[in-house]
Amino acid sequence: MDGIINSEIMIIILAAGIRLATPYLLAALGEMFVQRSGVYNLGVEGIMMMGAFSGFYATLQLGSPLLGIAVSLVVGALMGLLMALVSVTFKAEQGISGIGLYMFGWGLSGLLFRLYVGGITSVEGLKAVKVPLLSSIPFLGPVLFDHNGLVYTAFLLVPVTGFILFKSSWGLNVRAVGNKPEAADTLGVSVVLIRYQCLIVGGMLAALAGAFLTIGQANMYADNITAGRGFIAIALVYFGRWSPWGILLGSLLFSLADSFQSMVQVLGINFPYELAVVLPYMVTIIALAISYGRVWAPAALGKPFQRGTRG
């Protein structure tokens, strides 16, 4: 036991919490659009793995993490399109097709890695960018303004997606499609088109979350690199009640619990490690369980749209 939690330790915990929140935030904001439009995509984890691999591989081959991000966005869009095809056009049961997409992403990313990379290799990933002036603010500077570009992107997306969802006409259409698709349909809003768009955006953000893991954190790729983070992201959408600010809160809660327990272990504070490692999950499960009963959800969530019928 090396001492108490002082301000230096606090900075480390908070800065790590911000960094750890990024993949959850990106994937959950994407899934928020998907669910707002009335579809739930349980394949987030699989899309993340594909994004993680493609971002890594493009960076390895092309030498630029920015190109890696671009490639992962394209791959994510394709994965979203696949989910849209299966669940919107073919109206497959969404839970099952999502799990299918997850397995597909896991298998394919592992296979491609074996075929085209073959062993553990590291890449030059994204570098931390200190925001001028802001990063020199005491305490807040190192916590908030000393991260790589994807971290800033994720946090900026919170107000941006909030604006799109609640203030833009497209956002209004998304919410209408997710709540009363038949009403939206009579008003001339294409339910199918909106759901396709949301699944593609969701896929891109999930892939970006995956790419963050490989080129923004680990700077390498290994099988099953996402390790369940995609499922946490889906839980955070529920936790955040389909709102960007709620998702932000949930992501930070989970990640800060995670960085806190890491530090507790590192400092040798007498606390069983088994409890420490499950702390973030426990906090999220408990919060989810408590909040679920009273929660509003998009009314048409999970129901394939068929013109002329009522959900």
């Binding site: 790590a16 839970g95 499922f231 490692v277």
Partner: protein, 342 residues
Amino acid sequence: MKKRVFSLLLAVLTLLALSGCGAKPTAQTPAPAPEAPKVEKLRIALVLPATVDDLAWGQSMVEGLKAVQKTMGEDKVEVAISEKLGGAVDAGSAIRQYATQGYDIIFAHGSQYQSVLTEIIKDFPKTTFAYGTGFTTHPNVFAYDPQAQEGGYLLGMLAALMSKSGIVGIIGPMESGDAVKYNYGIQQGVIAGKAEVKSRIAYTGSFNDIVGAGNMAKTQMSAGADILTGSSQQAVGALRAVAETKNAYWLSTDMDQSGIAPDHVLAAQVYNWEKIVKKIIELRKAGTLGGQHLTLSLADGTIELKYNAKLADKIPAEAKAKIEQAKKDIISGKLKVELPKK
């Protein structure tokens, strides 16, 4: 519908919380056996929890088998490998399949396979099975058991003698099996190396979350550790984080990981599986199908301490001499590295 998703989600979350990492479905099935081999070929199968290229536990065994195959001749030895079989059920069916196909020796390379094996071995009394880390044997089962604490002790000494900050960071997967032995060795070695240096253990709760291990390494380093080590497949994530940090060094175990970070891996505890595999082959030839507990240790050269040649001049001669002495003492039995008492 919403309820269903919700309960599904809760179930997945709970699973994640319990396992700390998540389940692994089968990704590969064993390759079908070629029909009736013409020459009298020794057929060896290997079942791995992770991948053949994990730069750790799995890969070290694969390299051992390949080395044996090379020295005995490719036409004399056949090696088949199934990977990503973390789950006992999937692994069990792969092992049974290999046994049915007439493989002579089947390596179930993980301590978690012990209980699966006990069910299978009765049906194949002529087949030799080997698993590890473990010590429980049967007439046709060898158990192999690396004394990870021995190399850990030497690496711990090195860490203490090399640390400038006075803090050695250990990143463990879970508190079980090999990892515990290794960490125990490191801790005792650190104390022996320099009494005032501290070692800190933190567990990620997962064997394969390289991102989590990387983040744990970053936390360790930001809290002062400058020499780090850790075991299992996830460790490469931590190694990578160390490699991105100035004046931070890594000590690897299971195999030499200096290949991916030549400027940051000081030394490695290397398992020499080739010798173990050869021994099992010879015992089988002599009619012993199993029943022996085979340890890997510094004494018989199945565990080696390997310095990274590129960083050799960074390690002071007296530190090396001190470690060399400890190695001799461990081999002669004068120095006993303690193990956790169960």
